[in-house]
């Protein structure tokens, strides 16, 4: 069976096609869109990506309405069974609102939509999540953010627990939105669910990456830094041995 990755689509998602392009045309794996009304996902997918955008136009609060959609019931079941789930930007907000990841999002300190390149540092061992498998602790990635409610917040007790459990996966070296302790990406305790604010799918190709952001690591040569997130996932899925 070839690897098949599901991309959840809500009314207002707008990075779904970028992720499809990366998976299909750069990673050469099977990718499918999943409309938010579907609830029967069991057995179809090897991993799920929840893309960025403005699901339900961010009404009430970014991600909260999408968190109650039928597809999220299915995603929660799959996540609890250990399937890799990646939420990017609005997808991260949806994972937080659905309780799959801890924390909450607030409006950026600037109060404005912020779209710019950031530098992320991996603050856990690469093996902590399927999406960081090919990275080493301390490695830096240049990946852009684009958000208005991107300021991550978590209460002190939960933060301590997350730090003890190695759940703070990425920190910004140039915090773009006022996130607590420079947090840019977190995982669940088990490590199979990752939420990240920056958009790796926008930084996979060298022609979409500004010259000064090019990374000379042999791991990434010829690609933008975001590709490592998807390569890690595919390596993880092949490594599980389910896909000869």
């Amino acid at each position: 069976m070839p690897i098949r990755i599901g991309i959840v689509v809500f009314p207002g998602s707008n990075c779904d096609r970028d992720i499809y392009h990366v998976l299909k045309n750069i990673m050469h794996v099977d990718a499918e869109f999943i409309w938010h009304k579907r609830e029967d996902l069991n057995g179809y997918y090897d991993a799920i990506v929840i893309p960025g955008g403005f699901a339900y136009a961010d009404r009430l609060r970014a991600g909260v309405i999408a968190a109650f959609s039928p597809v999220m019931k299915a995603v929660k079941r799959l996540a609890r069974d250990g399937l890799p789930v990646l939420g990017i930007c609005n997808g991260f907000q949806i994972l937080v609102e659905s309780g799959l990841l801890p924390g909450a999002f607030m409006r950026n300190d600037s109060l404005t939509f912020t779209c710019r390149w950031t530098r992320l540092r991996l603050d856990v061992d690469g093996s902590r999540t399927p999406f960081t498998l090919l990275l080493e602790r301390g490695m830096r990635l240049n990946i852009p953010v684009a958000n208005q409610e991107g300021k991550y917040y978590v209460d002190e007790d939960t933060l301590r627990e997350m730090e003890r459990n190695e759940q703070i996966v990425f920190r910004y070296e140039d915090n773009p939105n006022g996130s607590l302790n420079d947090i840019g990406g977190v995982c669940n305790v088990e490590g199979n669910v990752l939420g990240m604010m920056p958009h790796p799918e926008r930084a996979c190709e060298i022609m979409l990456t500004p010259q000064y952001m090019h990374n000379n690591s042999t791991l990434l040569h010829g690609y933008g830094d975001g590709i490592v997130i998807f390569r890690s996932l595919i390596s993880y899925l092949y490594g599980k041995g389910e896909h000869p």
């Binding site: 909450a104 607030m106 300190d109």
Partner: protein, 82 residues
């Protein structure tokens, strides 16, 4: 059944920063000469109309709805049902 009007006020906890309220205070209100204003906090109000047997039942149902459907985020905000 009668219809009751219930107001839901969602505001950030006091120790959570509110840059929008700060901007209104610093860049509009104080610059506009209202120096006696000490603080401004931005909140959201939902005006709900609900069928119920009594005003108390209406408030109780709305409270339950706010908690169950996360109309407010309990990590950031408090929710008053009036």
């Amino acid at each position: 059944m009668p219809v009751y009007k219930v107001n839901v006020l969602i505001e950030n906890k006091p120790y959570i920063s509110d840059p929008e309220g700060d901007t209104i205070l610093k860049d509009l209100v104080l610059k506009g000469g209202y120096h006696q204003v000490r603080s401004i906090r931005v909140a959201k109000m939902l005006k709900v109309e609900v069928e119920a047997k009594s005003a108390e039942d209406a408030r109780e149902m709305v409270r339950r709805m706010c908690d169950e459907l996360r109309l407010y985020n309990p990590m950031l905000s408090i929710c008053k049902v009036e």
